[in-house]
């Protein structure tokens, strides 16, 4: 029993140490601008542009459901224009960053872990090193930077689409006019709502990509190992998003 606890404790400390070393190597690799600059642009397209369909799909249905839920909850208690308030606040502060973040943790985290994991077990990462490239500069920095920069962009667009979806739902299915919806939307609006959501999503992008890279580059054991690595990357990325969400709520709200 004690042995198991001691082994787990030791393994946790080792994992923390390795993660620290990985982040330190990442920072050091930022100086290889000529290596990562062009690759980052490619990853931004892959991570950002190609993630838009799933992100906007989530935003459309979240906005719609939120408007209906707000109407169901608030009717008879407060003026109906509070539907706009609830849709705007919930989308900007929480739902767009977290729901889109979780979806992208699956899409991006799995993609990065599987790609780098396959490269690791087929010796492509070793080959890269023998060609005098640092895998951090060539593989990690472009992915982590691209995710950190593109998550907020995708989330910002999702915020807009979610609110528009809520507005159209209010117009079409609820007894609410555009003027009333906008009045509710502006009632408790603060610019902080937007940047809070975007800062959160930036941190989500950073950890999702970082976890995908760490897991992928430490993959071992062939196809089964890559599958296990990918699953762990998605689970850990999702957990990290929820923990960070709580952290930012405590720190910034």
């Amino acid at each position: 029993m004690y042995r198991v606890v001691a082994d787990r404790f030791y393994a946790s400390l080792t994992a923390i140490g390795r993660t620290g070393q990985f982040v330190s190597d990442f920072m050091r690799s930022l100086r290889d601008v000529r290596v990562w600059a062009g690759l980052t642009a490619i990853q931004m397209r892959k991570i950002g542009v190609q993630s838009l369909p799933i992100a906007l799909f989530i935003a459309v249905f979240t906005g719609m459901v939120l408007a209906l839920l707000a109407s169901y909850t608030l009717t008879g208690a407060v003026p109906i224009y509070f539907v706009g308030t609830m849709v705007g606040k919930a989308i900007m502060i929480e739902l767009a960053p977290v729901l889109v973040g979780l979806a992208l943790a699956g899409r991006i985290g799995a993609n990065i872990a599987a790609e780098l994991g396959t490269m690791r077990v087929t010796e492509q990462v070793d080959a890269l090193e023998t060609l005098a490239y640092d895998p951090q500069s060539y593989l990690v920095v472009p992915r982590v930077l691209a995710a950190t920069l593109m998550f907020p962009v995708v989330v910002a667009l999702s915020m807009g689409v979610g609110i528009i979806s809520g507005w159209l739902t209010a117009l079409g299915l609820l007894d609410l006019s555009t003027v009333e919806f906008v009045k509710g939307l502006r009632l408790f609006y603060e610019f902080k709502d937007v940047w809070y959501g975007l800062v959160k999503s930036m941190s989500f992008g950073f950890v999702v990509a970082l976890i995908g890279c760490i897991r992928g580059l430490n993959a071992e054991g062939g196809a089964e190992g890559v599958g296990r690595t990918t699953m762990r990357a998605v689970v850990m990325g999702s957990q990290a998003i929820l923990v960070l969400d709580a952290f930012w709520a405590v720190v910034l709200l």
């Binding site: 490269m119 087929t122 010796e123 890269l128 090193e129 060609l131 005098a132 640092d134």
Partner: protein
């Protein structure tokens, strides 16, 4: 010159190299033979700093590899070509891009990259395959592209990890021919690990046998063929008697 000085390496409880010492003279091809899973590839990876020894040192051109910093390793690797067992081509890139990648790192001008790509592919009889992806190539073709990628860098040293494993005898002979041609045309120092004795005799100037983590015997091809060492004799003749004792052995393979 590459020198292994009393190198020890373990993975967990498994001891792989246990006092591995070997000198690789310049201008020659040295072949390291040994049973599968005895750590031949592990030793090779120490030369380019992909692995660090637990004890001992690997010295390349009077530089201790595991003591080099990041920039030192980049410089060292720029003069060593490494051919992987399964070629390790980048599967998202074409043959041309695979070969060009290392040259771009060395900031070779684009025109020269094109020339060297063409020359390297010609040397391994793979002209015309520049725009193909690794998935479209057979195992032997991939190995040849792997060799082309390594020699395009004009390295001083070429390291081959099991260059003929998994290939039919004819394709193996083609790969052997490519390796001999690469040495003759480029004058590189070669270090090859293999358990294919036909290949070892065809390409080696010297042969060393790795056994139980140490070099059991080293000599010219002729000396190895006439050896009286029972372990080496058994291996080069491929006799199965007492193979488990001879291997030493290895319930878990080491790449």
């Amino acid at each position: 010159m590459i020198v292994f000085n009393d190198v020890y390496k373990s993975f967990g409880p498994k001891k792989v190299l246990q006092g591995y010492s070997l000198e690789i003279p310049d201008g020659q091809t040295t072949v390291v033979i040994g049973y599968s899973g005895t750590g031949k590839s592990v030793a090779l990876k120490h030369v380019v700093g992909l692995l660090d020894p637990d004890a001992g040192e690997v010295v390349v051109d009077e530089q201790v590899v595991h003591e080099l910093d990041r920039d030192g390793l980049v410089e060292l690797r720029s003069k060593i070509g490494f051919v992987f067992q399964f070629a390790a081509l980048f599967d998202s890139m074409t043959v041309r891009e695979n070969i060009a990648l290392g040259l771009k790192r060395q900031e070779v001008p684009q025109r020269e990259i094109d020339e060297r790509t063409h020359e390297s592919l010609a040397l391994v009889d793979m002209e015309g395959s520049e725009d193909r992806y690794p998935i479209e190539l057979s195992g032997g073709m991939r190995k040849r592209v792997g060799i082309a990628r390594a020699i395009a860098l004009r390295p001083r040293y070429l390291l081959y990890d099991e260059p003929t494993s998994g290939l039919d005898p004819v394709t193996s002979a083609v790969i052997n021919g490519v390796m001999v041609r690469a040495r003759e045309k480029l004058g590189v120092t070669g270090l090859v690990v293999t358990h294919d004795m036909n290949s070892a005799y065809a390409i080696g100037d010297r042969i060393a046998m790795l056994y139980k983590g140490m070099i059991r015997q080293v000599g010219t091809v002729d000396q190895i063929q006439r050896t009286h060492d029972p372990i080496v004799r058994q291996f080069i003749e491929g006799r199965p008697e007492g193979a488990n004792d001879a291997e030493g052995l290895n319930t878990q393979a080491v790449s």
